[in-house]
């Protein structure tokens, strides 16, 4: 096992893209943690005379329609967006992968029940699913996380279910059964590690989806409540004023793009590192 861990890490380290992505994530996360110290202004401070300014020396990324500093609000917004994105995808990934493997491996009525339930959720847009959950639970950041988890779980179920179906017929699963291994052991040791690659990669992509859903919920007034900020909320309000000052929408959009790109780069590196065929 030690040998394997070392070489997986080595493959990850060799990939420049994965390292760049990791550095980007570390930077973004540190900024989010250090927000009170690194942001130039108070995120709620309004200066009516300075509203809708373009980038300049005092306001590096300009100001919004209340005269608040965009850079400051992006820094504070990263806290909400990253928390929601990471937590929602982690919860959905854990739950969805487990359910997907169980459905695929067990078959019969268990599979029918889980997969048809997932189909029902998948037939609705993720935003609508999130909306229904928020309406049922009420707004607030933890409910937003729950809502987005519920919306993303069916995707992980589908993603884990397919390869499990083919893996349960494959030689080494049959061989483990033939050597007296228990079902839970087969699922955790022989199926999970073989499907984790694509799941890890898709999870990094769906962090972006989660950030987007949070943005939409905030726009509808059900997610982040003003005057707090999140990237999604800023993007949506920026779109309203895009004819007057495009920076309002462009900079939060870029923030989302860089964060998503960082997660995708790490996701790709992770996939390569987890593939034993690429390890010497």
């Amino acid at each position: 096992m030690t040998r394997k861990k070392r070489s997986a890490l080595a493959v990850f380290r060799e990939s420049k893209i994965a390292i760049a992505g990791s550095i980007l994530i570390v930077v973004v996360v540190s900024i989010a943690i250090l927000a009170p110290w690194v942001s130039p202004y108070d995120p709620r401070e309004q200066k009516v005379v300075k509203r809708l300014q373009g980038p300049q020396a005092d306001y590096l990324l300009g100001t919004d329609h209340y005269g608040r500093d965009i850079l400051t609000r992006i820094i504070w917004g990263s806290r909400t967006s990253l928390t929601v994105g990471l937590l929602a995808v982690t919860f959905a990934g854990l739950l969805g992968t487990c359910l997907g493997i169980i459905a695929g491996y067990k078959g019969g009525w268990i599979e029918n029940f889980i997969m048809r339930a997932a189909d029902v959720f998948l037939s609705l847009p993720s935003l609508l699913t999130g909306l229904i959950v928020i309406v049922a639970l009420g707004s607030g950041i933890s409910n937003v996380v729950i809502a987005i988890s519920v919306a993303l779980t069916p995707r992980f179920i589908r993603l884990a279910h397919g390869p499990t179906l083919s893996l349960k017929e494959i030689g080494y699963v049959e061989a483990t059964r033939a050597s007296g291994g228990q079902e839970i052991r087969i699922m955790l040791r022989h199926i999970l590690p073989n499907i984790i690659g694509p799941i890890a990669v898709m999870a990094t992509l769906w962090v972006a989806t989660a950030i987007r859903i949070e943005a939409s919920l905030s726009f509808l007034g059900l997610g982040t409540q003003p005057p707090n900020s999140s990237w999604g909320l800023m993007l949506k309000s920026g779109v309203d004023n895009i004819m007057i000052s495009p920076y309002l929408a462009v900079f939060p959009g870029l923030a989302i793009m860089f964060a998503v790109m960082a997660f995708n780069m790490v996701g790709d590196g992770l996939r390569d590192a987890l593939d034993p065929k690429l390890q010497g």
Partner: protein, 328 residues
Amino acid sequence: MAKLIEVKNLKTNFYTIGGVVRAVNGVDFTIEREKTLGVVGESGCGKSVTALSIMRLIQPPGMIDEGEILFHQKGKVIDLTRLNAKGPIMRSIRGNEIAMIFQEPMTSLNPVFTIGDQIMESIMLHQRLGKDDARDKAVEMLKAVGIPSPEVRIGEYPHQLSGGMRQRAMIAMAISCKPSLLIADEPTTALDVTIQAQVLNLMNGLRTEFQTAIMFITHDLGVIAHMADDVIVMYLGRVVESGTVRQIFHNPTHPYTRGLMNSIPSLAETKEKRLIPIEGVVPDILDVGGGCGFESRCPDKMDICKREVPILTAISLGHHSACWLHAK
């Protein structure tokens, strides 16, 4: 010799949408301790289903409907068909007392773990050994199956091994708990001929060393002649002929067995002599009527063959054939 496994009137059926597939339809045979039983037959005749029935690994929609599988274990006799397939007793027999190796060495090892991890896993499932002891044992097993520098190989992944090496690793895994029966389901079919010979010799050597009986499933009669002590010939879910390897090869009596023997090319024959194939194809297993399954292809068919299923009749001591030609 002492009996190890007695299969009596085993019937394993698959309940599909198209109808009931009687994959194993009343099979009887015995495996003696430390002997090799060869199971011959073409694709779909029920060889593998018989093996999986003994392992109790038949998955729905298949199930064992009738019959007994008696396992003689240290003076006790256990009927495997009565055990819970997922229960602790069956799990302790599987892998520990009865182990199995499969046809495809390419897919029989998990690509994400080293072969050492996988051998250690099957050792630690059945034996109270710590990780280091299991590791030593795994090295010892790899050495026993003739893998060079086992200390290095143990840390390698399946894709770094050749097909023959993987099959050796599979064998190492299967015999690591010294099972009393090793079921080998076409273990050499996917290997090329020189490697086949090595693996077969290895298995013969291990049988003596570990005192393991082998149930050897194949469609290759040459391999059977090399490996087996006793042979059963299966056709459409039934045993059509059984006997010692000598009886089957020197005096095949069932028309199907004779047909199989005639379709083996021989280096000694002149080139004018042509191979005689068995006419026709295996009938659809869903359409098997009341008579002998081989009736439609049989050169010696009689009126009774269409109506009644022949039962195994003794030809000589230990040699049985299920054909109306020999019924008295």
